[in-house]
């Protein structure tokens, strides 16, 4: 189930929330666990068993570490079991197909690819649950003795399928006790509705434009169309992903949890390094804590730092999907970050802000080409057409795109800077009823989102073709 579908918003959500609010506090975590299972199994009726198994093993690993508190070997063994189990789940369900295909391609073998379907959200819940056993091993957190509370942490519906990657440490206190009042619920609703609008009204709309352009023949693609297409994708992925994170954060607030922020206007960044501190922050944080620092981070000289950065970025890339272009995409960022850190560290501070912003955006946009187009040859073809290899600047189709999408693109680009929100905050301090205006705006946004969601399934019958 995803948040932006009618069955979630108008069946699952009201029922879950009503039960959750109605039961006494000591049952609330159990409700979270059970509704989370229902939510997950709605999309994965079979694989839900894998998720339960993974949760159970990590829970038991935690208990084992607690029981053998003074026996470092036993603690280490429990950690290793947990990490290997989680990574094997990822290995088998996410990467086995890609590995087998690559192996067959390189060695000319014909090992049968089982083509296992990818369990939804596996990259998120395995990472979340590993954060618990690793932090416990490091003695950063204390053990969770209650299975229900631990299971509620892993399975709670707001964050299970698409993040943010909530670490156990982030919400361990709230699992024990949390305040659920009108204030929290009301704030949660605001954040949820904003996220819904970002996803449904902006991301879906500009996404349509990119879908059209992506399917075109790149050798005959006018430069302006190529740029419009990839800019549309740049906006789509931001609004989709951050919209979804906002919905998760909002739902978390409605349940009494404060999830970590996941996006901080990344397209405003002045360097690529800064971009990655503001984009999908919980993933970057996870890799930093559990891969980069354990490898030694930047403390052991230039050569090792470069090695560590490349490892982290190759992994970050491949985390996004089982395909080599994601690895290339990750290494692309690894190299840029290394250059920014060691070669251009001083140069990059000199030019005025707008220059470094354009530089950053340009690098990010090229990154999205690698991310979205899976074959390197097609990527080069697309980048080529962005720089006029087709010999055309625009055609009537470009005109069509501009007419249909220019307004949405401009709104999206302006909203993505975060300035409208800042401006609104300033204004709202000075005027009365600004809260009420917010409610009106949110209500309008929600109504429009519902209209767009309903229309997504409108399928007029064309007796024309019969």
């Amino acid at each position: 189930m995803v948040f932006s579908e009618p069955v979630f918003m108008f069946m699952f959500l009201p029922v879950s929330l009503l039960i959750y609010y109605a039961v006494p506090f000591r049952f609330k975590n159990a409700v979270l666990f059970l509704t989370g299972l229902l939510f997950y199994s709605w999309g994965e009726p079979i694989y839900v068993l894998i998720m339960i198994l993974s949760t159970l093993i990590d829970y038991l690993a935690g208990r084992t570490m607690y029981k053998f508190d003074s026996n470092e070997k036993a603690r280490k063994a429990a950690l290793i079991v947990s990490v290997i189990m989680n990574l094997s789940l990822l290995g088998v369900f996410k990467y086995s197909g890609m590995m087998i295909d690559t192996f067959n391609g390189v060695f000319g073998t014909s090992i049968i690819n089982p083509n296992l379907p990818l369990p939804i959200g596996i990259s998120f819940f395995t990472f979340q649950s590993m954060s618990y056993t690793i932090d416990l091993y490091r003695r950063n957190i204390s053990v969770q003795k209650s299975f229900v509370k631990f299971a509620a942490f892993v399975t709670m519906f707001p964050q299970i399928v698409a993040g943010p990657i909530v670490r156990y440490d982030d919400i361990s206190k709230e699992l024990e006790s949390r305040k659920i009042d009108f204030e929290a619920i009301s704030n949660g609703i605001s954040v949820f509705v904003c996220g819904l609008c970002k996803k449904v009204l902006i991301a879906n709309s500009v996404g349509e434009l990119w879908t059209n352009v992506k399917a075109m023949d790149y050798s005959a693609l006018p430069a302006a169309t190529a740029w419009l297409g990839i800019i549309a994708f740049t906006l789509q992925i931001y609004f989709d992903f951050s919209g979804y994170s906002d919905m998760a954060i909002g739902l978390g607030k409605m349940l009494g949890f404060n999830f970590p922020q996941n996006f901080d206007y990344p397209y405003n960044s002045k360097t690529v390094s800064e971009f990655w501190r503001r984009w999908h922050m919980t993933l970057g944080g996870w890799f930093k804590s559990y891969v980069y620092f354990p490898l030694g981070g930047s403390r052991n000289g230039k050569a090792k730092t470069i090695r560590n950065l490349l490892i982290v970025w190759a992994l970050t890339g491949i985390w996004h999907g089982a395909s080599w272009n994601f690895a290339i995409w990750g290494i692309y960022y690894g190299i840029i970050l290394i250059l920014e850190k060691f070669v251009f560290a001083n140069v990059i501070k000199k030019p005025p802000d707008f220059v470094t912003r354009i530089y950053t955006l340009f690098m990010v946009v090229i990154g999205w080409v690698i991310f979205e187009i899976s074959s390197p040859a097609a990527e080069l073809g697309f980048v080529g057409s962005m720089f006029g290899s087709s010999g055309m600047l625009s055609d009537t189709n470009t005109l069509n795109i501009l007419h249909n999408y220019l307004f949405t693109l401009i709104i999206a680009a302006v909203v993505a800077t975060g300035h409208p929100l800042k401006l609104w905050k300033k204004i709202s301090e000075k005027i009365r009823f600004s809260d009420a205006l917010c409610v009106v705006g949110e209500a309008a946004g929600m109504a429009a989102s519902i209209a767009y969601l309903v229309d997504a399934t409108y399928n007029p019958f064309l007796y024309f073709n019969f």
Binding site: L13, P14, H403, L406
Partner: protein, 371 residues
């Protein structure tokens, strides 16, 4: 704080009222505009859970019966229109008409279709073949269509098709149709009876019959509240409803569809339904036969057609003892083989341009028999 409480109440009202009305409100079982049976509430069983048909069924049920569904869609279309996306499901509004856009021509398919027709002609060298593609409303409004819509030219497409024909006479009635004030329905993709009459007159000179004057018919407006396919696609309420006109004579016809024989080419029943264009011939049939008992010339015509033919056939039937209509979209391979083109004096291929350019079933034509 009051606002916060209000926000919470409002949000919960929305997420409770919508499912309440959707689940327990009065429900339609069929959708008029989408012309489909609406989903029923799915049954929960172990299998339907395991193979997700329950989940998919719930999603279908919810979207099909969503409270105020069409109003929400109209609201969305209004927003889209306001921000510049004025083409809805491939339909634009031009001069008070809903017009279907024509683009992304599949030339391979067209080549295949025309090759099939050429083969049929080869098998029947003694029969006269006529190919009459009908341009749709877009061609009539070509000067009013904004450039940004980036549509393809139907006239050019027609010339392309004509260039591929072997020993088949090309008939282009675009200009004749354009002379009518009301050439196409405002809310439907079909041509009007007026346009069909113009095409019929033009065909007279080519097929050697003397077309009847309009004065020889009694004209009747059979409905004034026709909202057709293009309305269904856009739910655009600003467009005036259409009227359908029929031209009658006293000639008696029989229409044979499978084993059923009807004594009229017009079906009043459809005038109270949504699909009012089916007033002509009762809609599309795979194969049907029209006989004019009062004629003794023995002339026979075969029409390979789509729904555009349905309103011109009553005119043509005045001049042929027998007309057989073959609609490849509704024919099986075995059915179409029972037709033999060599038994006819004339073979007319009548499709609208947009339909013909995307017609996957036209290749069946090749299997119509010959000598």
């Amino acid at each position: 704080m009051k606002t916060k409480v209000f926000r919470v109440i409002l949000f919960f009202l929305v997420i409770l009222i919508i499912p309440a009305f959707t689940l327990f409100g009065e429900k339609e079982t069929v959708s008029y505009n989408e012309n489909k049976t609406l989903a029923e509430f799915p049954k929960l069983t172990f299998d339907s859970w395991k193979n997700r048909s329950f989940m998919n069924g719930m999603a279908d049920f919810f979207s099909d019966h969503f409270v105020l569904r069409e109003s929400f869609i109209k609201a969305k279309n209004a927003i889209e229109n306001a921000i510049g996306k004025n083409e809805i499901n491939g339909v634009v509004e031009i001069n008070g008409y809903l017009v279907q856009t024509f683009r992304d021509i599949n030339y391979n398919l067209t080549d295949r279709n025309i090759a099939a027709l050429n083969k049929l002609k080869e098998k029947n060298p003694d029969t006269n073949f006529y190919f009459m593609p009908i341009a749709t409303a877009q061609e009539i409004f070509r000067n009013d269509i904004p450039r940004y819509l980036d549509v393809d030219s139907e006239a050019e497409y027609i010339s392309y098709c004509f260039g591929k024909l072997n020993n088949i006479e090309a008939v282009d009635v675009t200009d004749k149709i354009a002379e009518n004030n009301y050439a196409f329905y405002r809310t439907d993709h079909h041509w009007t009876t007026e346009s069909a009459y113009s095409a019929y007159r033009a065909l007279g000179g080519i097929l050697n019959f003397i077309p009847l004057e309009k004065t020889e018919f009694t004209s009747e407006t059979v409905t004034e509240d026709f909202k057709g396919t293009l309305y269904s696609k856009t739910l655009n309420e600003n467009i005036e409803s259409d009227s359908i006109t029929a031209y009658h004579t006293n000639t008696e016809f029989t229409l044979t569809v499978k084993d059923e024989i009807y004594n009229s080419l017009y079906f009043d029943d459809f005038l109270t339904k949504k699909d009012k264009y089916s007033y002509f011939l009762g809609g599309n049939h795979g194969i049907c036969k029209i006989e004019n008992k009062s004629l003794e010339n023995g002339k026979k015509m075969l029409i390979i057609k789509d729904s555009y033919a349905n309103c011109i056939v009553p005119f043509l039937a005045e001049h042929y003892s027998e007309i057989t209509l073959v609609d490849p979209r509704y024919c099986s391979h075995t059915q179409i083989k029972t037709v033999n083109a060599s038994e006819y004096d004339d073979v007319l291929v009548l499709f609208n341009v947009s339909g013909f350019s995307s017609e996957q079933n036209f290749v069946l034509t090749e299997f119509i028999g010959g000598k």
